[in-house]
Symmetry: C2
Subunit: 190 residues, 2 copies
Amino acid sequence: MSIGRPRDAARDRAILAATLELLAEGGYPALRVDDVARRAGVAKTTIYRRWPSKGEMVLDAIAEQLGDRSTEETGDPLEDLRRLLQVTYERLAETVAGRALPALSAEIMADRALAEEYRRRFVHPLRERARALIHRAVDRGELRGDVDPDLLMDALIGPALYRPIVLGVPAPAASASAIFDLVISGVGHT
Amino acid sequence: MSIGRPRDAARDRAILAATLELLAEGGYPALRVDDVARRAGVAKTTIYRRWPSKGEMVLDAIAEQLGDRSTEETGDPLEDLRRLLQVTYERLAETVAGRALPALSAEIMADRALAEEYRRRFVHPLRERARALIHRAVDRGELRGDVDPDLLMDALIGPALYRPIVLGVPAPAASASAIFDLVISGVGHT
DNA sequence: TCCCTAACGAAACTATGAGTAGCGTAAATG
DNA sequence: CATTTACGCTACTCATAGTTTCGTTAGGGA
């Protein structure tokens, strides 16, 4: 097919694995491209031949851990929404990628293109799934008809980012269900 | 009292004002200490004589706009809580400091001491006020007794940070009331 | 008034880390 | 064996936070 020496996929894997390792050890601020290269046993130029910037490389590194949020569907939209929230909280709390994400966010937001890619790959697919579930729940009369789906999603997922970023403590995976119940049932005395 | 040439308070003000201006123009990532010095008509050394780092300087610069969230108390804890949330959303959405805060968070979190000071000055006072209001509301039977105050606060304030950081769009000040109603009343059909 | 002391400005400096350039070598295809 | 692209290596450029040095200025106290 193509001419010349082919790229070595093993090097891709080594680079991404080294990125995750270093992310776990020191977090995003301490992640140095030179260190990734050394850890992966690869030249720095090999990294920049594959990704245009450190940010893109990290995005690919965390993709595997964060990208796949498939859950089996039960047919009950509220139950599916709860499970989607649960697995999302779990990924954010229990994976290297999730724990690094808060510190990553500023770097991402500083670069428009990077931010767009991040939302396209991780945020929007998740929100579209949630939006569909919310609509089905409204149709079935399980949610109030005047609910703003975006507002509801913000209330559900907001704490998972707010806690690590602002408070510096993770949102435990167990809090997913608690948040879900709180938002669905409300906390007021009727 | 003290010996030698006294510090010029006008220079402090000029530096903090220049910081806010540049923050408004280009956001935190584009904020350069040299630019602040030039804009303030001051030498860079004068800045570093006052603050140990860029982060501390910015923290002081945003303090005035974010720090004072005093609202008059009505005596009704739920109403007071709503107003506290309202003014918080307003500050985050409508001040230079608030809009810069999301981009600032990573820088802050990268520095333990800075993060601690940030929480001590801005986060904890606000949460303690909210916590007191929640307890009073529970005592008066206006909130369910099994409410976890931290969880409730996270659900209320989370979206205000989640939207700008993750979605890249501000949380409108008007959404404060909507979030409040949603969380208090719940979205489920009883 | 005259020191003493600390603040100030200016310029040159260090340190760090992202990203690039040039080149010799290795591994594929034909 | 020739061509082409990947790879490693070394040495760079560039930007920016933070420092150092020193001559100058503006106060307070005797």
